[in-house]
């Protein structure tokens, strides 16, 4: 039975999982969850993700929540553990460090920006709260300064090797690039080049297409 991912492809957390499946080439089925109708809070979905969020993931009897946990499972199972460097204590630790940074710094600043610039106008018929956007752009810029310094020394975040830490950035990076604030990365040339590199990966291009198709359908 193929692995199942439950959730909309346009969700950054769902996309993170999909890109790992594409990296390792495992068969999977993407099962839609209509969040506009509250399906993520339905008993069926909550039985798979008890926090009522997306994605949920199933591999046989194993059911998982939390995209970064699911991503690691997929990479370990599917022969993608080089993206985690788990054969090397120091390198694995650097991957973990920058995966935490992706979650705690990049995603946490980007998420309100994407919510205000995409979800509010497109799905909720509301207007973008520019104060929220500006505050979070400032946080993002502070983080990007750190990223720029790091990527001036190393080709990728965890070192001179690509890892899940880099790839995990792509869903929010995609929305940054196609949204109204893409120019914020122009001030950080190493960051800009690194993002372009990640976005050029075949797995990332494939999932980006799925994300865009999902948005067009809405």
């Amino acid at each position: 039975m193929a692995m199942k991912v439950y959730g909309p492809a346009a969700s950054t957390n769902v996309a993170r999982v999909l890109v790992c499946l594409e990296e390792v080439g495992l068969d999977y089925e993407l099962v839609p969850v209509d969040m506009t109708k509250g399906e993520h809070k339905s008993p069926a979905h909550v039985s798979r993700n008890p926090f009522g969020q997306v994605p949920a993931f199933q591999d046989g009897d194993l059911i998982l929540s939390e995209s970064r946990a699911i991503s690691k499972y997929i990479l370990r199972k599917g022969g993608g553990s080089h993206l985690l460097r788990e054969g090397n204590l120091s390198e694995a630790a650097m991957v973990d460090v920058w995966l935490e940074v992706e979650s705690g710094q990049f995603d946490s600043a980007m998420s309100p920006i994407v919510f205000q610039c995409f979800v509010v106008p497109m799905f909720m018929g509301g207007t973008t709260d520019m104060k929220v956007v500006e505050e979070n752009l400032e946080k993002l810029k502070k983080s990007l300064e750190v990223y720029e310094a790091r990527l001036s020394r190393f080709k990728y975040l965890a070192g001179d090797f690509v890892s899940l830490a880099d790839i995990s950035h792509f869903p929010m990076a995609h929305y940054l690039l196609v949204g109204p604030h893409a120019s914020v990365i122009d001030a950080y040339p190493h960051v800009k080049a690194w993002i372009a590199d990640i976005m050029s990966r075949p797995s990332v291009k494939k999932v980006t297409e799925l994300m865009e198709a999902a948005i067009r359908m809405n």
Partner: protein, 226 residues
């Protein structure tokens, strides 16, 4: 083997997670304190170790790390600690990872504002914002219902024995239990029993003894070595 160094103060729940892992692993360590009141964490040389100007940072020989969960995983892999990551089994390791993520994305955002408003604000001359507390209490109650369902099925979050996922919750829970919102834990019997099991562990007792309710602002604890 050398002595690893943890830069920060034990009163920080993030530093505490790392110290708990070092204690569970029986690894030799020293805490190099920072003057948080003087914002030493935002200046060099700390910024060279943690470019986001936060605590903890960690040194093991030439390796310098930051982010408490990343440091914790490294410590447990290198120094042992009773298979707290379950990396020998894909499904079990995934369960540990999922509950570590749940602490980061579900538990922490709900509990951190309660600790901030109820314990920290009064210490730094601020006033509690009860609206923030009430909103967070609502979120935490919903999260703890999920935890209750889970912990009624297994003694610990990722299964029947302790893992990093449980240890990652100790720091903030320690402080929550010092507020009137300890009731949120107490009203969920399986969560309460789980917390009592954790609190009884020698490593947890040792580290929480370094975490005074006033965060050391009035009574700075002495730097500890393990």
């Amino acid at each position: 083997m050398g002595v690893v160094k943890v830069h920060g103060v034990a009163a920080s729940p993030y530093v505490a997670t790392v110290l708990l892992c070092l204690e569970e692993a029986g690894a030799a360590y020293e805490v190099a304190p920072l003057d948080m009141a003087a914002r030493e964490q935002r200046t060099q040389p700390h910024l060279a170790r943690n470019p986001f100007g936060k605590i903890p940072a960690f040194e093991d020989g030439d390796l310098v790390l930051f982010e408490s969960r990343a440091i914790s995983r490294y410590v447990l892999r290198k120094y042992g600690g009773g298979d707290l990551l379950r990396e020998g089994d894909l499904a079990e390791a995934a369960a540990v990872d999922a509950w570590v993520e749940a602490e980061a994305h579900q538990f922490h955002p709900a509990v951190a504002p309660i600790v901030r408003q109820c314990l920290i604000e009064p210490l730094i001359g601020g006033a509690r914002d009860q609206r923030v507390v009430d909103e967070s209490v609502g979120k935490l109650r919903a999260v703890l219902e999920v935890y209750e369902a889970r912990l009624s099925q297994s003694a610990y979050l990722a299964g029947d024995s302790l893992s990093l996922a449980d240890l990652a919750h100790v720091g903030f829970t320690r402080y929550l239990m010092a507020t009137e919102y300890a009731a949120l834990v107490e009203e969920h019997p399986s969560v309460r029993a789980w917390w009592e099991r954790l609190a009884a562990r020698p490593a947890v007792r040792k580290v929480t003894a370094l975490m005074p309710v006033d965060f050391g602002i009035k009574s700075p604890p002495q730097p500890q070595s393990g």
